[in-house]
Amino acid sequence: MAELITLTINNLQVSVPKGTKVLDAARQAGIFIPTFCHDPELTRFGACRMCIVEIPGMRNLPASCVTEATEGMVVHTDSPAVIEARQTILELMLANHPMDCLTCGKNGDCSLQDYAYMYGVKTDFFQGEKHNFPLEDDNPFIVRDMNKCILCGKCVRACAEIQGNNIVEFAYRGFDAKVTPAMDMPLSGSECVFCGNCVAVCPVGALQEKVLRTTVRTWEVKKVKTTCPYCGTGCNFELNVKDNKVVGITSCDGDVNGRALCVKGRFGYGFIHHPERLTSPLIKKDGQLVEASWEEAIDLVAQKLSDAKKQFGPDALAVLSSARCTNEENYLMQKLTRAVFGTNNIDHCARL
């Protein structure tokens, strides 16, 4: 067991293992501190300064995400000086942020918006130059709007530390600083594999899922956690549902994958509502498949299979079950094959 130290946060005594950061100590004690650039899965960055706190004896207001808790430390997370500093940070960000929550796809799921509301920061207090970067939407997966970027660097770290690809990085200096792929190319001109793990960590509207965020507002969707239908890794994600339609997929905390997904998992859901989906049983009549009722189709299947069994014996029947279907369905399929058809002729594409 690591050595414990005790500190006081907002008059609350908190004991944490030595080495714990003030931010984590506060969160353990149930005290909220706002953050933009911090993410428990990524290296600490200390860039956004939103998590500053007041610690008597310390010079300035330290960023709690990178300040280690020490024995006897006294911390104020919501003192007037802290609140004023946070308000100023927000005002500075908003001075160069498009005021388009009206139609922004992240409206309702945006840290900048949450904190502006929380600290009563209305609109652009500071006047000055504003970015006017073109919108990057030339790929079918991700829209990048660098005008909305707050340079928290989470996408840079997610790409390097979760995806391990290092596609994007900070470029230029000062006011011109932005996050770009190599040579300031669009993502489509880079080695990006469009996993969207940067999108999953972006706290604002700079990175958005192209279809999801232009189809629904964040507060309209119901989220249903499920398991991916593609490869055998078994990633979990949330289906975003509105009006009985799957409108998108977002990360949740999966057992296997955490928040990480690949391009198929995150963006490959369009087949669910594809117009070519089969919506009615079909029966071949005169060489053409024509629509039929369930009753007619099931009766025909039962009759034909029974006939074949009677005439040629059970082993004249064969069944291909599916590696895409659920356990329950595969179980029933082999039960049907063995108990009803009376044969062990069942297999699936495990070898393909």
Partner: protein, 526 residues
């Protein structure tokens, strides 16, 4: 997998053989990359210089189908240099002498001759694998889709047992499964020789148990037909009727022309799917199924983790969940099959399957559970073979190298290998209809080495006719040194490039897996 996915990140040494992990299993590759960042050694054995090969410390660019020579060569080095785990071999295994005898012939030099990998590299990799505190082997279809697929797996297992690199965290033999529930379909007994949990149909006790559970007087004792045998049976008239659920053998199985011919000969074919696939188009009856978003259930992933699938929307149109359709068919055949929900079906599975006995929907709602999970208190099993193997002692099955069934010759001078692309999945039934993936990656191409292309005077983007002894397709070429000279590669995701018209249906005699990774072809400008 004998281990869990997250254990890969903690392995000191990773041997990835015949797996293009970054493209086929992107999220598992994140663990490999994490291990690399933490200083682990990554060795990739693959005829192609894949994306994961680019990340490797050592890329062993072996000749297609020479895996056994490589693995035996490594075993030879490990034995001759006394690097093997003597305690593990003595206490946990049997038939070591047989292995020793067999691999004696596979000197690094001899292995180098067959594989094309320098002897020095084979020695260094062998030493690295044997001496690592923990070492894991990852493989996929690059190992299994050969006529010697089962023997390839034996060779992998031999190496792991020889070095005691199995039955402990981050050390084991880890096939990465390619489809969401291929593990579950096997676990559930959708195989010709076993019931759920791999309980053999040939054992009378099992038959009696299942007959009682299913309320029938008796169950067939003779193992059934595999996919290939079924198609063969359809072709020769011994199989008269087939019921195909959620599979597309016309595109996925080798020698597609033969598959179509076989299915057309059936008296009756019923196909149950979410789209009118190339296979469904041949059916007498097509039953519309619900997609994964429209039903409750469970999938079992490659690390044996059973996880929940949850219903988010109602079935599209008049489609029904597969489980409901099966129940309706059974009931119409005078075997009343009625379940209120998939949870009820799962409870029945748990009641007849020891490895699933402790799993229930109530537990799965909190988190996925890795089987074996024999009772409700059991937390599940993160890695297998901890203190003993299923059969007791681990048996060395020494195997000899045999070359692929087809070799390049004057008429068909190139070798064709097939596999997957990052942006697509299987026969493309789903990924060709997403409004995104197929927009980004819309046409398939054939990878060819620039030297080979130069020799027959074709250039990048040219349309070529690719022909094997069984069929032909037309496809655009991409000149790339991802493939070595003599090898061409493409995927089976695109109906327009139905590459399985060309592939060789010759099968491994034990597992009946087709040799999709090697067939000889010729190429000419279309």
């Amino acid at each position: 997998m004998t281990n869990s996915i997250e254990e890969i990140a903690k392995a000191d040494f990773i041997l990835a053989i015949g797996t293009n992990t970054t493209e086929s299993h992107p999220i598992i590759s994140l663990q490999v990359k994490k291990a690399r960042r933490n200083g682990s050694t990554l060795v990739v054995a693959d005829p192609r210089r894949t994306a994961i090969a680019e990340l490797a410390d050592v890329h062993m660019q072996l000749k297609s189908g020479s895996d056994i020579a490589l693995l035996n060569g490594m075993a030879h080095v490990i034995i001759s240099e006394e690097l093997w785990d003597k305690d593990f071999v003595a206490n946990r295994t049997e038939d070591f002498e047989a292995l020793k005898d067999t691999v004696a012939r596979y000197t690094p030099e001899y292995a180098a001759e067959i594989t094309g990998i320098p002897a020095q590299t084979i020695k260094e990799v062998a030493r690295g694998y044997a001496q690592a505190p923990s070492a894991t082997i990852l493989y996929t279809m690059g190992i299994t889709q050969h006529i010697c697929g089962t023997h390839n797996v034996f060779a992998v297992a031999n190496l792991a047992m020889l070095c005691g690199q199995i039955g402990k965290p981050s050390s084991g033999v880890n096939p990465l499964r390619g489809q969401n529930n291929v593990q579950g379909a096997c676990d559930m007994g959708a195989l010709p020789n076993v019931y759920t949990g791999y309980q053999a149909v040939t054992v009378e006790d099992h038959r009696v148990k299942f007959a009682k559970a299913w309320n029938v007087s008796e169950l067939p004792a003779q193992p059934g037909l595999t996919v290939g045998d079924m198609l063969e049976g359809a072709s020769n008239g011994s199989v008269k009727a087939m019921y195909i659920m959620g599979e597309n053998p016309v595109l996925s199985d080798p020698d597609a022309n033969h598959v179509v011919h076989a299915l057309q000969k059936l008296d009756f074919l019923v196909v149950q799917d979410i789209f009118l696939t190339e296979t469904a188009a041949l059916a007498d009856v097509v039953l519309p199924a619900a997609s994964f978003a429209e039903k409750e259930g469970t999938f079992s992933n490659t690390e044996r983790r059973v996880q929940r699938v949850r219903k988010a929307i109602d079935p599209v149109g008049d489609s029904k969940a597969d489980w409901q359709i099966i129940c309706n068919v059974a009931t119409a055949m005078n075997y009343p099959m009625r379940y209120a929900s998939p949870a009820e079906i799962f409870d029945e599975v748990a009641s007849v399957t020891p490895s699933y006995a402790g799993i229930s929907y109530a537990r799965l709602d909190k988190e996925g559970i890795q089987w074996p999970c024999p009772n409700e208190e059991h937390p599940g099993t993160t890695y297998l073979h901890k203190d003993k193997f299923v059969r007791g002692l681990g048996k060395f099955n020494p195997v000899e190298y045999i070359p692929p069934a087809e070799q390049p010759d004057r008429e068909y001078p190139l070798l064709l290998s097939t596999g997957r692309r990052h942006f697509h999945y299987h026969t493309g039934t789903m990924t060709q209809r997403t409004g995104a993936l197929e927009v980004h990656y819309g046409t398939e191409y054939l990878e060819i080495n620039p030297d080979d292309a130069c020799a027959i005077n074709i250039s990048d983007g040219d349309m070529v006719r690719l022909t094997s002894r069984r069929g032909q397709v037309e496809v655009k070429v991409k000149l790339t040194d991802v493939v070595p000279q003599g090898l061409v590669f493409t995927s089976f995701h695109f109906p327009a490039v139905a590459i399985n018209k060309l592939t060789n249906p010759v099968r491994d005699p034990i597992s009946k897996i087709p040799e999709l990774k090697v067939c000889s072809v010729k190429l000419e400008k279309a």
